[in-house]
Point group: C2
Chain length 206, copies 2
């Protein structure tokens, strides 16, 4: 029987990597289909939302990365255990998504001037990201279990880990004053199913 | 015992109304606290995210409207029953939120020029909204139960109903070609706990 899931995205981490990390963490087999940029124009109109990533689940196609991420997380107990844990995980996801959206607007929104793009990216990197880092450092200091939510790995841990991957390539001392976040990254990197994937995934810039 | 929940928002529908609708639909008592604009500057720094709405749940404060809406929906079986229903509900919420975000940017983003604001709002109203209406009309035609997801009321129904409230005040013939959506609105308006709330809530422009 073929795997029940397929994740279709470019050969980038970007908005597709959280889906891949969740499925690996859950230990679920899936097809990790990576689309070439050259093939995208002809593929676009046949995708469920006109965007990537999309997923094939039980033969049907579904788009929109964050609803898909929450779907996998709910299904494989990666959303947090209690109802309030789930709320807290979802709030963290919103903060992460705000930063991703700002960076993506600053890089891709053709209706903006160059000055506006610079302003939006600067705000994301010098206000939103440091604010998130301070919050997460506090959270990891207060939560003695080494995870952002409760005492097990959740979508919040994976989304936060993934967000910093690109920022760390650009700002090497980003975590200089955040020892708990550095420990947290180690914990994710050595999480058995995740470490196996990280060791073999394609190396991409973003 | 005081109600477990408090919803704190301006005296507007806006981003707070979905929380109120969900709690009314669930038949849960809550304090519907409405903040005067004059009081907002002094209140802002003490809110959990620096924004409204926020909620008080069991004595603790939580911000971010969509995570809060999904929290209430999960807790009171308004998120859809099956895992795929929940995914579909969440995808619809994303579409609705995209339109809200575009309109809100067009009205409030001080870094944009007047021309850019007009362009964003025009795109939301002439592209995104009609596309959503066509999708929801199709969904209501295919789903024989009269709801957007499965056979019971869900967060998707309430969020879609709420989104159209403001648009319908501005575009009276918006639903001329969408008979199923008109029926759907009647179904929500006459849903017992909702109809009682709609009859008594403050009348606000947005």
């Amino acid at each position: 029987m073929p795997p029940e899931y397929k994740v279709v995205y470019f050969n980038l981490r970007g908005r597709g990597e959280l889906l891949r990390l969740l499925l690996h963490a859950a230990g679920v087999q899936f097809v990790d289909q990576r689309v070439e940029f050259a093939d995208w124009p002809s593929l676009k109109s046949s995708t469920p939302e006109g965007t990537l990533p999309y997923m094939v689940i039980g033969g049907k196609e579904y788009g929109e990365s964050m609803p898909l991420a929450r779907y996998i997380a709910r299904k494989y107990s990666l959303m947090g255990i209690s109802e309030l844990d789930q709320l807290n995980a979802d709030i963290i996801l919103n903060h992460i998504d705000d930063i991703r959206n700002a960076v993506s607007r600053a890089r891709n929104d053709k209706s903006l001037t160059e000055d506006q793009k610079k302003e939006i990216e600067a705000k994301a990197m010098t206000e939103l990201l440091p604010k998130l880092l301070r919050r997460m450092e506090t959270r990891l200091t207060e939560n003695k279990h080494g995870y952002l939510i409760g005492n097990i790995l959740s979508i919040a841990d994976l989304a936060f880990f993934d967000l910093l991957e690109t920022s760390l390539k650009e700002i090497h001392n980003l975590l200089e004053n955040f020892p708990k976040i550095r420990e947290h990254r180690k914990r994710i990197e050595t999480y058995p199913r995740i470490s196996k994937y990280l060791a073999t995934r394609p190396d991409t810039k973003i």
